[in-house]
């Protein structure tokens, strides 16, 4: 996977993860173009589109669009499921996730993503294991918070 973007129906970026080194200028350009292209697509259209030499796989969950860029030889359907698994993870962690959770706790959303995907590849596909890793790190946070309180 080359990158993952989360943006709202209004076109506001909520999360961005780049797995290939690009300049800030390029990133902004890509984001702008993609957000426009994806938002312009109709709901009945398929979740894939060819864009430059990449394949864009996107899916909308409520007000949020999840959008991944993969290479041509990659499997589009499994990428859709990666998105879905990520949503499941967020859902489980936040307890029926909504856009607000991701806005206000975007760093948590990043932590979860980093446990799930690493370097653009699926790292751990077991939901339980991902959440366990996150919880362990969070637990530490609370222990420390208690200790300092």
């Amino acid at each position: 996977m080359q990158f993952m973007l989360l943006f709202s129906r209004q076109g506001k970026l909520r999360l961005q993860k780049w797995y290939v080194p690009l300049s800030d200028k390029e990133k902004k350009k890509i984001t702008r173009e993609l957000v426009q292209t994806v938002l312009a697509r109709k709901p009945k259209m398929c979740s894939f589109l060819e864009w430059r030499d990449l394949k864009i796989v996107y899916k909308r969950y409520a007000s949020l669009y999840f959008c991944c860029a993969i290479e041509d030889q990659d499997n589009e359907l499994i990428t859709l499921e990666i998105i879905h698994r990520y949503v499941e993870l967020l859902d489980k962690y936040f307890g029926s996730v909504c856009e607000l959770d991701i806005i206000f706790n975007f760093e948590k959303a990043y932590f979860i993503l980093d446990e799930f995907l690493l370097g653009g590849e699926a790292q751990e596909t077991s939901k339980k294991n991902v959440l366990k890793a996150i919880e362990q790190a969070d637990l530490l946070q609370e222990v420390r918070a208690l200790a300092t309180a």
């Binding site: 961005q16 797995y19 398929c46 060819e50 499997n75 499921e81 806005i103 751990e124 918070a145």
Partner: protein, 922 residues
């Protein structure tokens, strides 16, 4: 702005309070987000973020800010960056947070680093020690964080520093650590394959890890390795098949199920690997038939994930050595995809079909109707994929229909399709449509391919086609031309220029008139004008009056190229002899072997250049990192050999040096000796001359000892030189013919010969004078190098006169600006190893001391000022055709702290010396 968010915001005040602990900390962020949602314009947002950023700036630089506060600040900075604002001043603090914070802060610090910094960012260098420390931590979480950041952003040159630690983690008792370590190695493999080659055995261990997560991660590496060389991993086929069987048989823990499908990601990865292994290999393919069959059979459930697996399975079946039974099943699967009402599956069905029709075109027949429907689909993606499919099944019978469809679709016609064209008129007509509709959206190659098609045919056969093209284009040009795309106009003018003469009945004046008319149109681009003028040049003579008129009218054009062409046109039309000589019919012979460059190449080789290697044979320079903790970490440039590192004198020289010239002179000797001692480098600097009566003398310091001494010219022709001379005579043949004074030139340098390298650029001879240009390069920098030479000439055979001359050159004469972007600078900076730091005088007489000083340096020394940010400036330069040198300047009180880096050990010292001088003279 976002009204939905706003509504929810007011509806959900409880959300903020319900959070414990962390909520308080991120309060500022909440405020920020909330106030942003309340704004109504982009302008207000900009102002708000500006204020926020300046508040952050103040906070980060305050010494009272605690780590905890810093963490909160960092989150806000990340948010601002996500909104598209620049918060680069916080980058360094992100690194500090990762370095100094507790686990909690580290987590945010590392996250910020991975979001802010790219692989090549110079600040990453500062992260290396932190990562090393955390990798050795006893706290698992810290190790995890370090591995995560390593697998995301890590500078290539730093890999050797962490590699042993990451390797160790492959045998860590915790599976999460092993898994992350495997992925970190995968990442290393992607960015620097040769650095992880030695640990293949450990990958193998990861593959047989008892934890499925670790094993699955290792497959990423294997997929990559096998993609590159499938033959080396055939023996693993059995293992992969067994793993896939176990997965299918539900042997993995239920945790890995996804919607009750066992480990789909793992399955897909394995299927990909198997298809690569079985490609064009019958015996290996036979090993996997059974498991593929089972895969196809198992994936029956109606869920996206099973389709994902099926799709991969079908691809595998069609990639490996074919087996009828499997092919049949796979074909049925594809049918299900194509016929599916779900649009995503339909798309994949078309994609699979596109892949499969290459092996079995008949398969498309079964789905004719669906394909036709898809052609008119409202979704662009589907339509495009269908056309891709059609393109693959184009043949002589269906070409007209398919091309028509393609034309409907934004003119997406690969020229190749048209090789099946049924007849000439159809072909030209279609191409006219393609060019006029698709026009400038076409790929650059398309018009070129078309023209080549026209040009390459045999005259007898294809004259028909060309004739038709000429006729058709004349018709087009007689109509309205203002709307035609530039590339079509270019194609037409080329064709008319080349082939208008084939058509007897065509009036040449008419052709000229039509083309000239185009020139008058304002919409015609200057590039097209050049095409048109070239065409006019080619149209046979006889219409001098028209051409002269044209040339006259263009002679006042603002475009210099056009003016020049018009001038040429005029000359050619007036001088028929010249014209015949320049425009010989069918004289276009291309030397594709580039043999005319042989001379140049052999000269370059003789001068020590490396022989050409095709890109795929090039191995990256192996970065050696011997001291992971030393200050200058990366050593990746070839000019720094191991001996450099072992020589204490050199190390000390490159670190501490002032502008003292006595010290400099000892340095020079060191440098010279080293170069000579290493591989007996012989500078190629002898001037070669046009045909001469006696062989020109060579100055070749032959041995190490001599190099240190002053070298006297020794007229001693070597065989190598004679060869070069022959080369020169063949290169410059014709230039010196008939000169009555024949010259022999000699050029040599003083004791520090080793540092200069020269070559004759060109010699222009006239009857009584001769101009000779030499290109001199400085290989090893020195403060001053004196240059002496002689000119020998013969006024009568046997009697030689000699004139000596001399001059002095300094390093400053060889410094040239190196134009790089800030990013390239950052990358380069990291890759350079020899550095020198020194405080210099700051010119304080103007308002902006840094800028004034840098400009003074720039003027004096031809440096390139890359960027000035606040109190820091970055500057780059290089030796002429030689090593680069980067300068990092920072205002430090009343001084300018300068930090120079270069791949060349001595270069920074000399540049520093010249900077000092330039500033002193200012």
């Amino acid at each position: 702005m976002s009204d939905v968010v706003e509504k929810t915001l007011t509806a959900l005040p409880g959300l903020f309070e319900s959070q414990t602990g962390a909520a308080k900390i991120t309060n500022r962020l909440r405020q920020l987000i909330k106030s942003i949602t309340e704004l109504t314009s982009k302008h207000e947002e900009e102002n708000l973020i500006k204020r926020e950023l300046s508040a952050i700036k103040e906070q980060v630089s305050s010494p009272n800010t605690t780590m905890k506060q810093m963490r909160e600040i960092m989150v806000r900075a990340m948010y601002c960056e996500m909104l598209g604002y620049d918060a680069s001043f916080t980058y360094i603090h992100a690194i500090k947070l990762a370095q100094q914070g507790g686990v909690l802060e580290k987590r945010v610090g590392y996250l910020a680093v991975s979001l802010f910094l790219n692989e090549g960012h110079e600040l990453l260098l500062l992260l290396v020690n932190t990562v090393l420390k955390d990798l050795q931590s006893t706290n698992l979480i810290e190790v995890c964080m370090a591995l995560t950041v390593v697998a995301q952003v890590f500078p290539k040159d730093m890999i050797p520093a962490v590699l042993p630690l990451v390797e160790d983690k492959l045998s860590h008792p915790k599976e999460i650590i092993r898994r992350k370590a495997v992925l970190a190695l995968y990442k290393f493999y992607l960015i620097a394959p040769n650095q992880v080659q030695h640990i293949h055995a450990k990958f193998c261990k990861a593959l047989s890890d008892k934890d499925p997560g670790v094993m699955a991660s290792s497959l990423h590496i294997y997929l990559q390795l096998i993609r590159e060389s499938p033959d080396s991993y055939k023996d693993l086929t059995g293992s992969f098949v067994t793993i896939l069987k176990q997965v299918l048989g539900g042997k993995l823990p239920v945790d890995f199920n996804y919607h009750s499908v066992p480990a789909p990601w793992l399955q897909i990865q394995l299927l990909r690997i198997l298809s690569l292994l079985g490609k064009e290999d019958q015996s290996t393919s036979e090993l996997m038939y059974e498991v593929l069959d089972e895969s196809l059979r198992r994936a029956e459930m109606n869920h996206n994930i099973t389709y994902a697996i099926l799709y991969e399975c079908v691809k595998a079946v069609y990639t490996i050595h074919p087996k009828a039974e499997l092919l049949e099943k796979a074909a049925r699967c594809i049918g299900n995809f194509v016929l599916s009402p779900k649009i995503n599956l339909k798309y994949l069905g078309l994609k699979a079909l596109t892949y499969v029709v290459q092996h079995d075109a008949k398969l498309a027949l079964q789905h004719q109707m669906t394909i036709i429907e898809c052609l008119d689909h409202s979704d662009f993606t589907i339509k495009r994929e269908t056309l891709e499919l059609l393109f693959r099944i184009t043949n002589a019978q269906n070409v007209t229909v398919i091309v028509e469809k393609m034309l409907d679709f934004l003119c997406y016609v690969p020229i190749k399709t048209l090789t099946f064209a049924p007849d000439n008129s159809w072909f030209i007509q279609t191409m006219n449509d393609v060019f006029s509709i698709g026009g400038d959206l076409l790929q650059q190659d398309d018009p070129n391919n078309f023209l080549r098609l026209l040009a390459e045919g045999k005259p007898e056969e294809d004259d028909q086609l060309r004739l038709y093209a000429v006729e058709s284009y004349l018709t087009v040009l007689k109509g309205h031309t203002s709307h035609l795309p530039q590339c079509f106009l270019q194609v037409m003018s080329w064709v008319l220029g080349e082939y208008a003469h084939l058509q007897e009945s065509v009036d040449r004046r008419e052709v000229i008139r039509l083309l000239t008319q185009l020139l008058d149109q304002r919409s015609v681009s200057s590039e097209t004008r050049v095409w048109i003028l070239s065409a006019l040049t080619k149209i046979p003579e006889g219409q001098t009056d028209l051409i002269l008129d044209l040339a006259e009218s263009l002679s006042s054009s603002q475009d210099t190229v056009l003016r020049q062409q018009a001038q040429e046109l005029r000359h050619l039309s007036q001088d028929s002899q010249l014209r015949e000589w320049v425009l010989v019919e069918n004289s276009c012979a291309v030397d594709s072997s580039l043999s005319f460059l042989d001379g140049f190449v052999s000269e370059a080789l003789a001068a020590g250049a490396a022989p050409y290697k095709p890109p795929h044979q090039r191995q990256e320079e192996l970065s050696l990192n011997l001291e992971p903790y030393s200050f200058s970490l990366p050593v990746s440039l070839s000019s720094c050999s191991i001996t450099d590192r072992q020589s204490p004198t050199l190390l000390s020289v490159s670190s501490g040096l002032s502008g003292n010239s006595a010290e400099l002179s000892t340095l020079i000797l060191e440098g010279v000796k080293r170069v000579w001692g290493k591989d007996g480098y012989l500078p190629q600097k002898e001037a070669t001359a046009p045909p001469v009566d006696e062989p020109s003398a060579a100055v070749q310091p032959a041995s190490q000892q001599e190099a240190a001494e002053r070298i006297e010219p020794r007229p001693e022709p070597s065989t190598q030189n004679q060869d070069k001379q022959q080369l020169a005579s063949s290169l410059f043949v014709g230039l010196g013919v008939g000169s009555s004074v024949s010259l022999v030139r000699k050029l040599f340098y003083d004791g520090f010969t080793a540092s200069l390298r020269g070559n004759v650029m060109d010699c222009l001879e006239a009857r009584s004078t001769s101009v000779c240009h030499y290109a001199l390069l400085m290989d090893d920098p020195h403060t001053n190098v004196s240059l002496t030479g002689t000119v020998s000439y013969q006024t009568q055979p046997g009697h030689t006169n000699t004139l000596p001359f001399s001059g002095t050159l300094s390093t400053a004469d060889f410094i040239r600006p190196l134009v790089v972007t800030t990013e390239e600078y950052g990358k380069l900076w990291l890759s350079l190893s020899h550095d020198v730091k020194q405080n210099l005088k700051l010119l304080t007489d103007a308002g902006d001391p840094l800028r004034t000083t840098l400009n003074a340096l720039k003027d004096a020394l031809q440096l390139h000022v890359v960027d000035i940010i606040g109190s820091e400036g970055i500057v780059a330069c290089r030796l002429l055709s030689g090593a680069p040198c980067l300068l990092h300047c920072r205002v430090n009180g009343a001084a300018l702290a300068m930090w120079l880096r270069s791949p060349h050990p001595a270069l920074p010292d000399f540049i520093l010396y010249h900077c000092q001088r330039a500033l002193a003279h200012h």
